[in-house]
């Protein structure tokens, strides 16, 4: 028994089975990502003013990744065209280029995109405590400019004095330090070397925050003073004097954590959608690697079938690309 139309098209439908199959699969994928994007819209519209952050992502890197994905969509088409022209070696090069693009995309995601967020501290303040931290928030200024209020102080969390000995310091940094400090009942305040928009809340340049990739000015000052041999107490005083160190009392804080999914709905949707998109990219790369290594045998037996496979997986790859075309403006630009 053989299934008909696995390679050639059925005359009255004009389709071979795999192509119909992938289009149906993509229809279901549209509904999956449609559900996720409608969640984004629902959460964003439903958020109180000030609780949906803007401009926290690294636009140049996101843009570079967009270009890389678009380039890979072109190379996968060229790989298919090479097969149609029966140029196998050319196909191998284009396939390799596609795989490389996919891997670079994932690499950028896992080095420049996600990890810096996981080590970044943010404290969302209780509404009644906002006035207390006006110096870091600049809400009066924002109200004059008819902008949404700031409700969060973010930056680099300094370990509290009780964590000063080296053993603890070595163990705890980044997200682990933040989790430990947030859940430590003996720590009553957060010391944060703040991001530019909290250091200069009235600066027009900071109306849309963009702490990544920009370095905190406070970090440079801290380093410089440390090199001069100042004690930690003196450094903190200096930073506080320059409005670069915020001391936030825990009872004023509604929620504090690193910029991870649970921090707020913005990061929850961001990590979920980019994570699922990344999983799709990974799946595509795995399929292409499989074609790269097993393509030759199939090409000898039935070149048309290999071309069909590349076409069908290419359709999937274009879809993954298309999803990113939605993700990029929704999260990075708007």
């Amino acid at each position: 028994m053989e299934i008909p139309y696995t390679v050639t098209a059925r005359p009255d439908t004009g389709l071979a089975n795999p192509k119909l199959g992938i289009w149906l699969f993509l229809a279901s994928e549209v509904m999956l990502f449609g559900g996720l994007f409608s969640c984004y819209i629902f959460q964003r519209i439903g958020a109180e003013p000030g609780y949906w952050p803007h401009g926290l992502l690294n636009v140049p890197i996101g843009f570079a990744n967009t270009l890389i994905l678009i380039a890979s969509s072109v190379t996968v088409i060229l790989a298919w065209a090479s097969l149609k022209m029966r140029k196998f070696n050319q196909y191998m090069w284009f396939m390799l280029a596609t795989i490389a693009c996919g891997l670079i995309f994932l690499g950028v995601k896992l080095t420049f995109e996600w990890p810096p967020k996981l080590g970044h501290f943010g404290a969302i303040l209780k509404k009644e405590a906002l006035v207390k931290y006006e110096g870091f928030l600049g809400n009066e200024h924002l109200a004059e400019r008819k902008l949404e209020p700031r409700v969060e102080i973010s930056g680099h969390l300094l370990p509290p004095e009780s964590y000063a000995h080296d053993a603890v310091k070595k163990e705890l940094h980044g997200r682990a330090l933040i989790e430990a400090v947030v859940h430590d009942p003996n720590v009553h305040e957060f010391k944060v070397v703040v991001d530019p928009e909290n250091a200069n809340p009235k600066d027009k340049a900071n109306e849309r925050p963009h702490f990544i990739p920009r370095d905190r000015p406070g970090d440079d000052v801290e380093k410089k003073l440390k090199a001069e041999g100042k004690s930690e107490e003196e450094i903190e005083k200096d930073l506080e004097h320059r409005n670069m160190l915020a001391v936030i009392h825990k009872e004023d804080v509604q929620w504090a954590s690193s910029f991870e999914p649970k921090h707020n709905n913005y990061f929850a949707t961001y990590f979920m959608i980019t994570g699922l998109h990344g999983a799709h990219v990974l799946a595509g790369v795995i399929v292409f690697v499989y074609f790269f290594f097993t393509g030759r045998a199939l090409y000898r037996r039935n070149p048309e079938q290999l071309a069909n496979r590349v076409e069908v997986s290419g359709l999937f790859w274009h879809f993954v690309d298309l999803i990113w075309i939605f993700v990029f403006p929704l999260f990075y630009l708007l």
């Binding site: 279901s28 969640c39 929620w255 709905n265 699922l276």
Partner: protein
């Protein structure tokens, strides 16, 4: 005889056909890519889960009829061992060394937590693990490729992956019963915020509520793989001459159902991912600001919306209602046409009706949410669409009813179930119309009226159709008939007792009895006291309904091994293509090329030599087109 013929042909063509007839036992019956084996696997899995779901309900009915009295004998012990404890944690987990002091005090009755577990799992199992695998995946896999004259599904290996994905989800679901704290207990709808923090468990993963989500993710994957396969098969592998309007109505029902699953389920998958993140990573997709749990502020950042889950859930779960009923209508249509010996009345209108139904089913979901306070304008919209959707449903029912008119009906067992389907589905559907109205629904929401309404559609509706289908296609699958006497015993027992169960529930519901009272309303005696005496009656009917299934189980097992052998491949004198195959069909299905000459239900055609004209039979005087090689699908390859 016929099997030998295919084998010889395969040997002769050995260069192209390097597989299948030397498959080992495991590849042939377990990890098979043959659509018929997969169909039977789906069917058996579905029937077993339907029975399991029934058993859960029978235990719940004890609790409703007798409050907290201990369960009788062995049942008390076994439910206690497995499901009785809703509160223990990993640290004091002692299973299976026996109950401890504090628990014995509950007297081995079904605890409140246990009742919630049973309620949630009864719904989940019946809908997602019972009816969809049996009525949709099972029959569609077995019957549809045969009815369109295909050698198999377009993607046999994806088909196998689909079944094993369902199998994994079944294993996860059953495992969730024995993890500490028991299985999911937030209802089959898994509404947050309750479902967001119920069962903390081990790493937030090994607990009933999270395992429920994981099981659903695998279940959804299985549905997606299956449904895209069904659509592709029907588009690509129809036999020559089988135009769309010559398709049996069952195939149409499967086609539309597959589209519903393909487009509605991914949305629940998205929602399931979000709830999984809420539970495992502590996000707040569905967690509102300022949530207090047990007097403490909950450890969530907040800002999410429980309403979002309801929208996403019902966006799937309303089309799901039509996923449950459309295959049933398809099965019933086949059986009615065959047993009335006349064409289906209004076949084209029925096809149009299910297209309309499918489209409308995507824009009625929020009629499940009138109580959420989503606003009068939104309610008015969904009220309107809900009323409109009753029109195509009524067209389907009317067409089937009119098909009985003037037929010389053979009341075989499948026909008895198919006939009973019509009034039962009618009661279920008509009692739904009041619920479509916002004002009435505010009163009836979450009462036993709702329970009775949708059970009339799925229990004596869909499940009767499943039984009808099993009795009808059993000879094709096994080559043996099922016993008619036991079948009729099964039918009459089921029909009487199922009405004893769901009929009085309308009364209870209209009095205001709420659907989730584990003690059957004892605490609220002053408001619903007048209808409480029905509890005992309903429970008794339910247990007798359970007993009435025994003839079916005996009949099913007995007939596989010792049923009367069929004398022809077409024991019901039917017209559709599945009866052109040997019984049971071998791998590859048809032993001769197939060409279709006519519509699906040409019974009692004036002037014909017999009262049925099979679709593949050339009209008198016409050449046998199937013999012309270039028209067969295999030749086109």
């Amino acid at each position: 005889m016929s099997a030998q013929a295919t084998d010889h042909a395969a040997h002769a063509d050995h260069a192209h056909d390097e597989h299948h007839h030397e498959l080992g036992w495991w590849r042939k019956y377990v990890f098979s890519t043959d659509h018929k084996v997969i169909g039977v696997q789906y069917g058996i899995t579905g029937l077993l889960f339907l029975f399991f779901g029934l058993l859960l309900m029978l235990v719940m009915r004890w609790s409703i009829a007798h409050g907290e009295q201990p369960l009788p004998g062995f049942i008390g012990w076994i439910t206690h061992m497995f499901f009785g404890n809703g509160v223990i944690t990993w640290t004091d987990y002692t299973f299976p060394s026996g109950p401890r002091m504090g628990e014995v005090l509950s007297g081995w009755s079904l605890t409140k937590e246990g009742y919630n577990v049973f309620g949630a799992m009864h719904g989940t199992i019946m809908v997602f693990f019972g009816i969809v695998p049996a009525a949709f995946a099972g029959f569609a896999n077995f019957v549809m490729p045969l009815q369109i004259g295909a050698p198999d599904m377009t993607f046999p290996r994806i088909n196998m992956a689909s079944y094993w994905s369902l199998f994994i989800s079944c294993v996860i679901l059953l495992l969730s019963f024995v993890v500490p704290g028991g299985a999911a207990k937030s209802g089959w709808t898994s509404y947050p915020p309750l479902a967001g923090f119920a069962d903390a468990g081990f790493w937030h993963v090994l607990n009933g509520q999270t395992l429920w989500i994981l099981a659903m993710v695998f279940n959804i994957t299985a549905s997606l793989l299956g449904s895209l396969n069904f659509i592709a098969t029907m588009v690509q592998l129809r036999a020559p001459g089988l135009t769309w309007m010559r398709l049996p109505f069952f195939c149409w029902a499967i086609f539309i159902t597959a589209y519903l699953l393909l487009l509605a389920f991914p949305v629940l998958e998205a929602a399931a991912v979000m709830q999984l993140m809420d539970r495992v990573f502590g996000t707040s997709f569905f967690m509102p600001t300022g949530l207090i749990v047990n007097g403490q502020p909950a450890a969530f950042a907040g800002g999410g919306s429980p309403l979002l889950w309801q929208h996403l859930f019902w966006f799937l779960a309303h089309p799901e209602v039509y996923v449950l009923i459309l295959p049933a209508i398809g099965i019933v249509t086949e059986i009615i046409a065959n047993n009335t010996r006349k064409p289906i009345w209004g076949y084209k209108m029925m096809v149009g009706a299910i297209f309309t139904l499918a489209f409308l089913s995507f824009i009625v979901w929020a009629h499940h949410m009138y109580m959420t306070g989503m606003g009068a304008k939104v309610s008015a919209f969904f009220q309107t669409t809900t009323i409109i959707i009753s029109v195509p449903s009524v067209i389907l029912l009317t067409a089937l009813l009119l098909s009985l008119w003037g037929g010389s009906i053979r009341f075989t067992t499948p026909m008895l179930f198919a006939t009973a389907f019509l009034p039962m589905f009618g009661i279920g559907g008509l009692t739904g119309i009041p619920l479509a109205f916002n004002a009435v629904d505010l009163y009836l929401h979450d009462t036993y009226y709702i329970i009775a309404h949708f059970h009339y559609i799925v229990a004596p509706g869909t499940i009767f159709a499943i039984f009808a289908g099993v009795y009808y296609w059993f000879p094709k699958a096994t080559g043996r008939m099922m016993n008619e006497f036991l079948g009729k015993l099964h039918f009459w027992g089921s029909l009487i007792f199922i009405n004893g169960v769901f009929g009085p529930m309308f009364l209870q519901g209209m009095t205001g009895m709420h659907r989730r009272w584990y003690d059957g309303g004892e605490v609220f005696k002053q408001t619903v006291g007048e209808v409480l005496y029905w509890n005992w009656w309903i429970s008794l009917s339910a247990w007798l309904l359970g007993l009435a299934q025994l003839p079916f189980i005996i009949n099913f097992v007995y007939s596989i091994f010792a049923g009367k052998r069929v004398t022809s491949d077409n024991p019901w004198d039917a017209t559709t293509l599945e009866w052109e195959t040997p019984s049971p069909p071998g791998h590859g299905n048809f032993i001769k090329p197939i060409h279709v000459y006519r519509g699906p239900y040409e019974y009692s055609v004036p002037g014909a030599d017999k009262d049925y004209s099979p679709q593949a039979e050339p009209p008198p005087g016409s050449p046998d087109l199937a013999a012309t090689p270039h028209l067969t699908p295999a030749a086109a390859h």
